[in-house]
Symmetry: C2
Subunit: 669 residues, 2 copies
């Protein structure tokens, strides 16, 4: 866990490995930041109880997960809690608020007066912290959150024969911990590296964290609470896997239940503290273009043991550095470009280590970074490759994945398995594996993608969705994410770990060592064009009704497509052996800097560090330009002229960004 003695031990492990004389890197060091974290008080554990009118405790929520192996008995297992939930003591009648989305509270408030209630919610549908942020305006006093067996366990609930240690499913007392902030990076030092003397905003000015106490609990306890709720039955879509009807709450419990007339009481003792968190950095110097960086990273911190999250990814990173380091130490290989490895600290609290790193070295990284590769959880499950990236990197991911055997299936390769499970039809390539987009901030790629505009990849092995509906691997962020769990149920034999290491390593070498960067601009154009098609379908009639022309956007995408195809053609027709180094560098610079052209630091003032006008998260949930989509949704809702002006603004922003990017792909003068 970030900043603990265990964290320091992993720092030392990384340094020892990366400074090893036989298979270490050229250099490695730690970089420290003083970051704002939130912990439960070990001497004063958070308590959630059911108390009757006389304050007699009728039920206590389990404070620690039930042990099945010694791992869970380790004294360092942190009590389940919601990082950045305020401390506080609240008591109220219980209500059931589904996933804690704005629409959930709105619907619930039509039936029940929420003032002073405690809302129990299930994970999913809304961000962790949002479940509390959305609740506060209704006067809700506190929020509980649990993982419904329907969402994580395909309905299984019993630890006598169904859940871990009998399977990969979450035992009844398992609790998903997590960070309940909305924005990434150190919360006290926005846009500044969190050094000792850096200016810090007053903690009360932090936005995007829970305004009321919130605490995660296991479904074992949630079952007891929810099945005792009074009031109307919740809508069908709100029902979960428990063998009772999920009622909304009277508010409060049924008179016939053991909790008749009782309240739920939350005693939360979380403490915020500024602590020292380290990144560990390691480098291999480039031989020809040392001033060009390929960055590869994963976080090092976990919530508990973190065998999968993050150690599956960290082990992949260590294997890659071992293999490359050995070749470097033996003097038989050195990449054309420099490679920087980052073992990020305090990711679990909000991608803090990677974000602070990008804030500290903003200029240098912006100017020189070719690409960022993130492998966090390397193996969610062992079915096929899941990769999200800027579309210009699609072709290098495909190339690499064709060169790696599918785990446990030597007759086929990673590419083919991926294509079989998850594909789309491209106008250019026909049926191909489907690449995801990096629109969110789910791992350490966020600052690289959204703040710096660096072409990035995030990848892992993932589930066969025909076999499970689990929203994530069931032991995620619990005390059960252990070596035993990982080796038995996630990736027996670690074959998928190997496939990810080989694929990611292959991509890394191609990015660091190719004469010409393996970027394909026409693939980027194809996605922009599909975004445009969606925008035309969804928005054009109403845009026209408001005298907003979509023509500039059409022209911009057309110009981008023309210039992208022209540049790809130039690259393909190059006589690589005989081109001058500066011609190669010129083209590589065009490719490297492509995503930088999409940055607009002023377009999304309400979204911290989101600057990329194509990949910024899109609340409207449409596969199209995010600023346009969100502004359109707002204008359609309000009908206000001022909101339609914002639609026009975002149309201009994205059109001019695409045109600006297109002009960087054309003839350089």
């Amino acid at each position: 866990m970030a900043t603990t003695a265990g964290d320091e031990k992993t720092v030392q492990t990384m340094l020892r490995r990366w400074l090893d004389d036989d298979d270490g890197l050229d250099d490695a060091w730690r970089e420290e930041y003083n970051v704002y974290l939130s912990f439960p008080d070990a001497n004063n554990p958070n308590k959630v109880t059911v108390v009757d009118a006389a304050n007699v405790v009728k039920h206590s929520i389990r404070e620690k997960e039930k042990p099945y192996t010694d791992d869970q008995r380790d004294p360092d297992v942190v009590q389940p809690y919601a990082a950045y939930s305020p401390a506080g003591h609240v008591k109220g009648k219980l209500v059931y608020a589904n996933q804690g989305k704005p629409s959930d509270y709105e619907e619930l408030s039509k039936k029940v007066n929420l003032t002073g209630t405690i809302a129990i919610t299930r994970y999913g549908g809304a961000g962790r912290g949002a479940k509390a942020i959305n609740a506060a305006p209704y006067g809700v006093a506190g929020v509980l959150v649990y993982t419904d067996p329907q969402d994580i366990n395909d309905g299984f609930m019993s630890d006598t024969n169904e859940t871990y240690p009998h399977s990969w499913y979450l035992p009844p007392s398992g609790v998903e911990r997590g960070s309940f902030n909305r924005d990434f990076g150190d919360l006290l030092t926005p846009y500044l590296a969190a050094k000792e003397e850096t200016y810090r905003i007053p903690p009360e000015n932090i936005v995007g964290i829970p305004p009321i106490p919130i605490q995660p609990i296991g479904f074992e306890d949630a079952y007891v609470l929810i099945c005792a709720l009074d009031g109307d039955a919740a809508p069908f879509a709100w029902q979960g896997a428990f063998n009772c009807t999920y009622n909304l709450g009277g508010p409060g419990f049924k008179p016939t239940s053991a909790f008749s007339n009782s309240d739920v009481k939350m005693d939360i003792y979380n403490q915020e503290v500024i602590k020292n968190s380290a990144n560990v950095m390691g480098i291999i110097r480039g031989s020809v273009e040392p001033d060009r960086y390929v960055i590869y990273g994963n976080h090092r911190d976990s919530w508990v043991h973190g065998a999968i999250d993050p150690s599956s990814g960290t082990s992949v990173m260590l294997e890659i550095t071992r293999v490359l380091g050995r070749m470097v130490k033996q003097g038989i290989w050195r990449p054309r470009r420099s490679i920087i490895f980052g073992s990020w600290g305090a990711e679990e609290f909000g991608l803090i280590g990677s974000a602070e790193y990008t804030e500290q070295y903003f200029a240098k990284l912006s100017e020189r970074t070719v690409a960022y590769i993130n492998v966090d959880i390397a193996v969610f499950a062992n079915a096929y490759l899941r990769a999200s990236a800027m579309p210009s990197l699609q072709s290098v991911i495909f190339k690499a994945s064709k060169e790696v055997s599918a785990p446990g299936e030597s007759s086929t390769n990673v590419y083919e398995t991926w294509k079989r499970h998850y594909n789309r039809t491209s106008g250019i390539h026909g049926v191909i594996p489907r690449l995801g987009y990096l629109t969110g901030a789910g791992s350490d790629y966020a600052a690289f993608v959204h703040y710096l505009g660096i072409s990035s990849i995030d990848m892992s092995y993932t589930y066969d969705r025909s076999k499970t509906n689990a929203r994530i691997y069931p032991a995620y962020h619990t005390a059960y994410d252990t070596f035993d769990y990982a080796s038995k149920y996630i990736d027996p034999g670690f074959v998928s770990h190997q496939a990810v290491a080989r694929t990611a390593g292959n991509i890394l070498i191609r990015l660091a060592d190719s004469l010409l960067l393996p970027f394909n601009c026409a693939d980027y154009a194809e996605v922009l064009d599909s975004y445009l098609t969606t925008a035309i379908t969804l928005y054009q009639p109403q845009l026209e009704a408001h005298n907003i022309s979509i023509e500039p956007l059409k022209r911009a995408v057309a110009m981008f497509t023309t210039n992208a195809e022209q540049l790809d053609k130039t690259i393909n027709s190059l006589d690589r052996a005989n081109e001058t180094p500066l011609t190669i560098r010129r083209i590589n610079d065009q490719l490297m800097l492509l995503d930088r052209a999409f940055l607009d630091p002023l377009a999304f003032p309400d979204k911290y560090a989101f600057r990329h006008v194509i990949w910024t998260s899109n609340s409207a949930g449409k596969a199209t330009f995010p600023g346009l989509a969100d502004a359109f949704a707002q204008a359609e809702l309000s009908g206000l002229d001022s909101d339609w002006e914002k639609v026009h603004y975002h149309l201009s922003v994205v059109s001019q960004a695409i045109e600006g990017a297109a002009s960087t792909l054309g003839d350089v003068i």
Copy 2:
């Protein structure tokens, strides 16, 4: 004047010259923007009159300047007006408000109730539009502005033997026109290129333009008005060159004057209009690094004839393009890097053409531009060279100026004359000419310096301050800025024009053609260190009293100095003939991108497009870090904790920017 038939004629001239087969450039074209301008109504001229209680006109302000040559009789001479002053009809008692600074109105309001008055102000001390913006909160209804003979004419007033056509001094009816906006670039399309379908903010949302009518007048009329004013005598510092006491106004005129009991009436008919303005762009393609740009520019538009402003600079640019173009066309020379020439449109209205250009091509220009050279008014007077630039360019300016003979003084050179008139003692170099800083937005360098962070130079020949106190050459922005005036009084024989063309051309060739960019980073460090010394002297005690440590700033400057000296040493010890092209490129990229590292798009939210944390304009007027200086001044004034927090914030911003810049100068990996 921008967007007139005359402007189109100069567009055609530029295109014809730059597309000439014998001495033109590789290519040239026009780029158009639809920009928001403000003009008087030719059919309804602005009127300022003195009217008595019965509305009988007692005096009319002259509507056009008095002609001495046919130039002033040209029907295209625009009536003097204040661009972006609102139209309006106001009437009130006259008061004298000195330079229209906030302190002037504050002091005046202690003596006179300003509600409903007309304030007459003199040029200088505050920005043009600020004279009206500062007045409005006091209830002032309208503002007049004139040029006092003390400030422009060394006191001379008579056109019978003292002023033009007898000298360079301004005739009594001469009026300085100008743009009365505060922010640069098209006012309706902030941060977006002003294309036809671009989103435009509602005009009522424009900030930084006069909220009340304002009109410039000649000192001939100002004399009549001011010398008739009633009330207390204005403070000594407010007195000008008129042979009467400048009174504050009763408000209004003396009972003993011809204007007894009369008001001043302003009838302003200015019209805002969106018009098509063109930049003319011309290029010479680079032979080795075509993707590196040196940009050279000047605006093309004037207020009236503009022999000096801008045609002195435009003639210098045309001479440079003629000389370079001929060598290119003859096939005997082609620069290593590309050169882009910009003939900017609508500069006089607020640097519009250059700003829109940087908005449209933001990414491309940021990534590839080595430097920007601006020569607007090439010759203010013919005494010595005035140059302002980023300190890294000091050495190339010095080198070039040593190679050019001083105008009319073949025994010495431009460098020596400059050093004789205007020098400082450098810790590194001893006594050297004093270079100015580009902290303001006085000409088209603004967007390049402040918005893009491109190392820039602005230069001209200038006055011998021992011979005149004129705040600018007296015919500036009047109908007297003609060829006759320029050739007789500004630069007889055009020898200073030649010196500027030779110096600027020499710099341009060095920037475009040197193997290694002629940048010196230690000179940058020296200025940062002097800024630091000033900050320590002025601020350290009070910072400490507020628990704000200045140590991070000291460490940042020290790190910058170390890395800068190291890089300069590396450059000086290079074996230039044998280094690989990519080694040279790597160092050149470090030099080219140095100023980009100082950009922070969020540090100055109230200053449009000011992003450079070293050179942003500094209201506090101190030769130190601008964000720190302004925040400190505000905190000292208010004493508020929240203002001291802003001081800490700006200290962190500038420290981390300098550290970030320093890290780009160090070892690349």
